[in-house]
Symmetry: C2
Subunit: 248 residues, 2 copies
DNA sequence: AAGTGGTCTAGACCACAAA
DNA sequence: TTGTGGTCTAGACCACTTG
């Protein structure tokens, strides 16, 4: 067995072979030489033409497929995709962790706490039946003593009954929940709004100032856990989302 | 050569071996049996204990690493990561496609078009050297005749020289670019702002109205392609991001 | 120096979907 | 039926990094 006898790869590259191949193929796609719909040569053919094992080709194609530049189907072969929607990964951090990471002090101030049967509005926001017992919390996150974000939260007490015993004075509900109740699904809605009088007062900003609003719904399997609405003054927060740069 | 003699896998599964292994390992991590910081057995050991080739283990670990549940380093081994931020997938669509999908008519109106050497401000936004030739475009996206979003765009003419020949009256630069120049990397910044006089006039909204602002930078490998700033009145747009349900 | 992950090979069998 | 991708093996060499 001559076995693996490749390794003439101390040449210049430092780039793995599959990566070179991946880049070469991507080049043909992005330059339009291989237009959307074009069917690529089979893995066997590519392996021959690149002079490598089929698995190396497979790895290169796998990377392109994960970037959604191509679609691979058994028997049908591999075809170039049409340009797609921009898809980015958005990381939404715990406010406390975020502020601490930025070197600020952090404090949660509870403004209001109420256990009640869900109103129609609560029910719609949390996605439960009206009358379901919910815990409603309003509070302010402070950074270095100054208001940073306003939080309005509903907790489904059917999913998290132990929340009814917690006062949430000082401890932020987000952190508390995260430690106790895992979630399996989440949805975020991001919007902008003008601060109304109540928001302006609580965040100590002028009325009508633009704010970034993040609403999050979380599920534990099929059960709704919590609904939260976070309101940040526009000059205190922005979200950054990056396209995940495929490397493999 | 007995070669590949595995394939007792017409059992019940239909699930690839590397997938089973990946799930088994993930289970140990998410249940806390392998806590953050824990160092996993080496690939060789895992291969022995799972009774498979090392490459199969490597594929399973690769999937976990891509989910950022573990970190793999040569010599140092593989360790369990600390829990990470909430990570959602944000899809940012082409405005035209979005409006058409919603059943609205779509129209792009070019307000301004200029080819010039990049000013300091342009250079900073686009990430190129000052003086680099850029195409600067301002326009309004209209839905059913009414202003929907304001777009301010810079195109790097070194990356996309053919853009200099395009008038962009009627055709939206986003769609035009998407059809010609794919991107490999993108970064989005999402913020809120109060409409100033110019924005208010062009979008036909009151001054100080809150707007959602999306800034996008795109790269083709290392080259900057375009920088765009989209401004939506707060009641006309919201972004939705869903937790990516891990499957692999 | 030694152990780890990273990559690669030259085969092989399988599952699937198109012809 | 047949060709394609999907997975797997048993080994090998390499590069990196830690002890």
């Amino acid at each position: 067995m001559s076995d693996a006898e490749p390794r003439k790869r101390t040449d210049t590259a430092a780039l793995p072979r599959y990566r070179e191949i991946c880049d070469a193929l991507r080049q043909r796609i992005v330059t339009g030489a291989w237009a959307p719909g074009y069917r690529l040569p089979s893995e066997h053919e590519l392996a021959r033409s690149f002079g490598c094992a089929r698995m190396t080709i497979s790895k290169a194609l796998g990377a392109l497929a994960e970037q959604r530049l191509i679609t691979r189907r058994r028997r049908a072969g591999t075809t170039v995709n049409a340009p797609r929607a921009q898809e980015s990964i958005l990381e939404i951090h715990d406010i406390e962790a975020e502020l601490v990471a930025a070197g600020s002090s952090y404090e949660y101030q509870c403004l209001d706490r109420e256990i009640r049967p869900a109103s129609e509005e609560d029910a719609a926001a949390l996605g439960v039946a009206a009358g379901t017992p919910v815990l409603r919390l309003t509070g302010v996150h402070r950074a270095d003593g100054r208001p940073h974000a306003l939080e309005e939260r509903l907790i489904n007490l059917q999913s998290v009954p132990e929340a009814s015993g917690e006062r949430f004075t000082g401890t932020s509900p987000g952190g508390w929940l995260l430690k106790r109740i895992p979630w399996t699904d989440a949805e975020h809605q991001i919007s902008a709004l003008n601060a109304d009088a109540a928001i302006a007062r609580r965040l100590d900003i002028p009325r009508r100032k633009a704010c970034l609003c993040i609403e999050r719904n979380t599920w534990l399997d099929a059960k709704r856990v919590t609904h939260v609405r976070l309101i940040y003054p526009c000059d205190q927060h922005r979200l950054i989302a990056r396209f995940r740069h495929k490397r493999a």
